[in-house]
């Protein structure tokens, strides 16, 4: 379980000697339950990616705490094998010197217990995301965007983490591939009984896959609603967002 308590984050503005800071996230608090898919929706610049990075321990909040089962998520040991990630930019999400196989091996190698039997594992992983074993020897630049994103998803699920943070994981793919990947994510979710934190600006995709949706605006949480009640959101901003999708 991931719990976020009163998190604030600001970035320094300008040069070395300025004290001015830009507040990106303010007073964010929410809980993520085991196995749930939580969507984080917001406009561009609302701080979604920043929040994602905080959840992944890549970045540190200025104030507040982010705990995974009561332990600080910033500690590498806490995340090990529990949390994984898929990012938006598939062009730089695989080390250009790695083959698909090496990329998939990376998280596996971190786990001593996973090291055996990995050979078969990789084929299995590739099959699960709809790629065949001939992709093992390919380099990142030899993959199409959709294929690269599938490899990233395979890499993220390889250690069967309990939570995967997907930051705009499907936003840069075209429509039909988006649907395939969403299907895939749904299947994998039931197969491995893991949960997602699904960051996107696409409400429809969020509505399709998520159980709960958190709406973010200028670094504030506007509302957290269950997907079933998405139609009758309270706040005017959320209603405005929905309106734009429907029309």
């Amino acid at each position: 379980m991931l719990s976020v308590k009163h998190v604030n984050k600001s970035y320094k503005k300008g040069g070395l000697f300025t004290r001015e800071r830009q507040q990106v996230l303010s007073n964010i608090s929410f809980d993520w339950q085991q196995g749930e898919c939580l969507g984080i929706i917001g406009e561009s610049g609302s701080g979604k990616s920043t929040l994602g990075q905080l959840l992944l321990g890549i970045n540190e909040p200025d104030q507040g705490r982010i705990l995974w089962d009561g332990k600080r998520v910033k500690d590498r040991k806490t995340r090990l094998g529990n949390i994984s990630a898929v990012f938006q930019d598939y062009t730089s999400s695989i080390n250009p010197f790695y083959t698909v196989e090496q990329a998939l091996m990376e998280p596996l190698m971190l786990h001593k217990k996973m090291r055996q039997a990995h050979q078969g594992n990789i084929d299995q992983l590739l099959h699960q995301v709809g790629l065949d074993s001939s992709y093992r020897q390919k380099y990142a630049h030899e993959l199409s965007g959709g294929e690269a994103q599938r490899v990233c998803i395979a890499r993220a699920v390889s250690t069967e983490p309990r939570c995967i943070v997907l930051d705009e994981a499907i936003s840069s793919l075209d429509g039909s591939v988006q649907i395939q990947i969403l299907e895939l994510l749904k299947n994998l979710k039931t197969m491995y009984s893991m949960g997602y934190i699904f960051i996107t600006h696409d409400i429809r995709a969020a509505a399709y896959i998520c159980d709960r949706v958190m709406i973010l605006r200028n670094g504030h949480i506007v509302e957290i609603v269950n997907v079933e009640q998405l139609k009758d959101v309270q706040s005017p901003y959320a209603r405005h967002l929905l309106q734009m999708v429907i029309t």
């Binding site: 590498r76 090990l80 990012f87 938006q88 010197f97 050979q119 299995q124």
Partner: protein
Amino acid sequence: MKIVTRIGKDKLAAVCLLFIAAILVTGVFAPLFAPHAPEEVHMELRFAASSWEYWLGNDHLGRCILSRLIYGIRPSVLWVLVALSISVAIGTTLGFIAGYFRGKADAILMRVCDIMLSFPGYVMTLAVIGILGAGLENILIAFVLMKWAWFARIIRTSVMQYTDTEYVKFAKAIGVSNINIMIKHILPVSLPDIAVISSSSFGSMILQISGFSFLGLGIQAPHAEWGMMLNEARAVMFSRPELMLAPGIAIILVVSAINFLSDALQIALDPKLMTSRHKWQGKAIALASKPHGKEVA
């Protein structure tokens, strides 16, 4: 190993690599390769043309030019290489720290670099020689002092750029340690940058060492050094211009070879040129692994 085979495909680069390797080996084992003692004076052989005994002839003191050239590899190439390696090592370490961790460490290191870089290089080298006295070691010390900041600066920028990539973020997220991320993910991709800047400054350092020796600030008299050989030949530049050829050509060849090699290295290290080896091999692996995969599944 992959890199070596890929460089091997490029004929020019292979030749350069062999040439440099040969130069290095000859320099290290100079006493074995040199036909004569480099400081042996034969006044009767002054300005002798090349002969079977003295392949490249003799200089104004009748010393064997070939032997002096071979012994000259040590200060001109080997010691420059040592100084270069030290400054690249310092620059890489600091550049990685500044570029990867950013924040305070970055700010402090870069201000120090700014200070170091605000002195003009030649003047600082002359100042260091002025303080420590003439001599090869002091020039090399001055080089290390002057160059590391420049390396740190450039490597930091390169590291910063790669620290922002998503595969580094992913590695951080799944809990790979910082050291491992730097070694596995950042070092290989920034290696071409490091190779290019170190090779370009290798060339300029060889030229500078020769320049300082030419001015009489580097290695001292009887010892052989390419720049000093040029300086000695300068006295008879109009009557016997051929004496300038041997050291001059040696310098040009080594510097060009290094530059060609670094170009080739940059290409060889480009991941875009890596293809999934042979289609055949890929298929063979796929076939071989299939039954295995089923067993596990």
